[in-house]
Amino acid sequence: MSAHTILGRLGLALGVFLIVSPAILFFLWMISLSVKFEVDNAAYPPVFWPEHFAWKNYTDVLSSNRFFTYFKNSLLVTGGATALAMLVGVPAGYGIARMAAHKSAIVILIARITPGLSYLIPLFLLFQWLGLLGTLWPQIIIHLVVTVPIVIWIMIGYFETTPIELEEAARIDGATRWQVFRHVALPVAKPGLAVAFILAVIFSWNNFVFGIVLAGRETRTLPVAVYNMISFDQLSWGPLAAAALIVTLPVLLLTVFAQRQIVAGLTAGAVKGG
């Protein structure tokens, strides 16, 4: 190995280290904050590896019965909004791809560039008028603003690449449109379904702005609950960091295990979004 390639490899290693370390160090510090007692979190110079671990921070968060209400709310809102989006979005993606109705994508583009708050004002009034505030329905419905465009967008891309010949053959054999969709097109588009599902789940789970307006004390999702911990109940860092980590952990795990799908979905959406 020549001196030149060794230098090149060292340079690459240094580059990788510089680029990845802000992300890694941040999450390591987040973990560190979450397992330390107040004494260690207020120490100067800062302590990274404490002598005594404050597992209590986690048990406190997990054992509060509010936490499970919020967890259940998050699960229902994200689950409901994702399931509904798949139900209406996947057939729509198929229909739009087969009709080559590219102009309809404009609506999705508008949804992409509209600030979430602009939906909140009219829908807030509508939910108030319908008497839905205080239930989880307003949040499930408004999360559709996030999930439906993602699912339609990604599914258009997938159905455009699946071969149409198979579908035509099935139709000649007498299959109905619905049967063709269900038994021919859908199985081929399975990877796309996974991508759409994962991204819809992540963006709905992370959503914060809809919750702060629409959620009451009993209908908070986890991100809103964590935010309320900062402003009212808690001022000590350990339990706060533990709560923050618990909220985002499902998403981080999904990122590691479904990295390929996430990257495929984001770059497809991004490139087409232009």
Binding site: M99, H102, P115, W205, V209, I212, V247, T267
Partner: protein
């Protein structure tokens, strides 16, 4: 376009099974449920917002048609004018920094090295993580006395900063978070671009004795320009709408030093419940985003045109 495709496919199936003479299939039933949903949660709110922007509408008092007066209030509202300035500086920085760093990261991740998959997963974590959760940890890191950032500054001999607690440094500090969070998206887009490049120019450049920097500057950079424009556009759209990070860390403060249009919109709508005025802000804000997107598209077209001009 669609009719041609349908005619062709219809003709093909007729040829294959003449006795059946299949009608071109209608795909409308597949689209209708989504259409209804989109009408209800996207189109209706937009129309309602536009209509409300012409009303005097405060929660608890009767509404009245006031024409354009909500819009006329905007230029005379110092808080709104100030928030436009904050939004523009925040957006400009939040496009530029991730664009530069994301391109560098893409060049590095284009190389093959052990553990690349796992490291890429770790690298994209900031943008997938729940924004409120990471905002909370950043708030702790920004703490002037107990925060790790001032400790890190002291290690390299720099004076402590007030970060998000001082009007002069709050926007750069928030941009730091935004950059940390969204550089990965730029990286992914640009990486897709680099991966699609042909290898021949590099081979001949190497024969001609070009340095790595020269190859990047004169081959890679011009070829990935379209991807950089896409990344810039997406970044601009997301940065101008940024809400979670700013709201969770500063709520627009200290004072109103980091109040962007989106945060001011939130206050007008859901703190003061001045819904008519808030709707006017929402409409103007949307127009601003559309204008920004259009501007970037024009720049992109001009850049392509210039590239064509130098080629020929």
């Amino acid at each position: 376009m669609s009719t041609i495709v349908e005619q062709v496919s219809g003709a093909a199936s007729e040829a294959a099974a003449p006795e059946r003479a299949l009608r071109p299939p209608s795909y409308w039933p597949f689209v209708v449920p989504a259409l209804v949903t989109v009408l209800a949660v996207i189109i209706f709110p937009w129309l309602f917002t536009i209509w409300m922007s012409f009303q005097e509408w405060k929660v608890g008092s009767p509404t009245a048609f006031v024409g354009l007066s909500n819009y006329l209030r905007l230029p005379a509202d110092p808080r709104f004018v100030e928030s436009v300035g904050h939004t523009l500086s925040y957006t400009a920085l939040s496009v530029l920094l991730p664009l530069v760093l994301g391109t560098l990261a893409a060049v590095v991740f284009h190389a093959r090295f052990p553990g690349r998959g796992l490291l890429r997963a770790l690298f994209i974590m900031p943008m997938m993580a729940t924004p409120v959760a990471i905002a909370l940890v950043w708030t702790m890191m920004f703490h002037p006395q107990l925060g790790i950032l001032n400790y890190l500054l002291s290690l390299v001999g720099l004076p402590p900063q007030l970060w998000v607690f001082h009007p002069g440094t709050v926007i750069p500090s928030l941009v730091l978070v935004e950059t940390w969070q969204w550089t990965p998206l730029v990286m992914l887009i640009v990486l897709g671009g680099i991966a699609s490049l042909p290898t021949e120019p590099y081979e001949s450049a190497q024969i001609d004795g070009a340095s790595t920097w020269q190859m990047f500057r004169y081959i890679t950079l011009p070829l990935i320009m379209p991807f950089l424009f896409i990344a810039a556009m997406i970044r601009a759209i997301d940065a101008i709408k940024s809400f979670d990070i700013i709201f969770a860390i500063t709520q627009g403060g200290p004072g109103s030093a980091s109040e962007t249009i989106n945060l001011y919109l939130y206050s007008v709508a859901f703190v003061y419940y001045d819904l008519g005025y808030a709707s006017a802000i929402a409409v103007v804000f949307f127009a601003l985003i559309v204008a920004l997107t259009a501007l970037l598209l024009v720049l992109r077209r001009r850049a392509q045109w210039n590239a064509l001009g130098t080629d020929t």
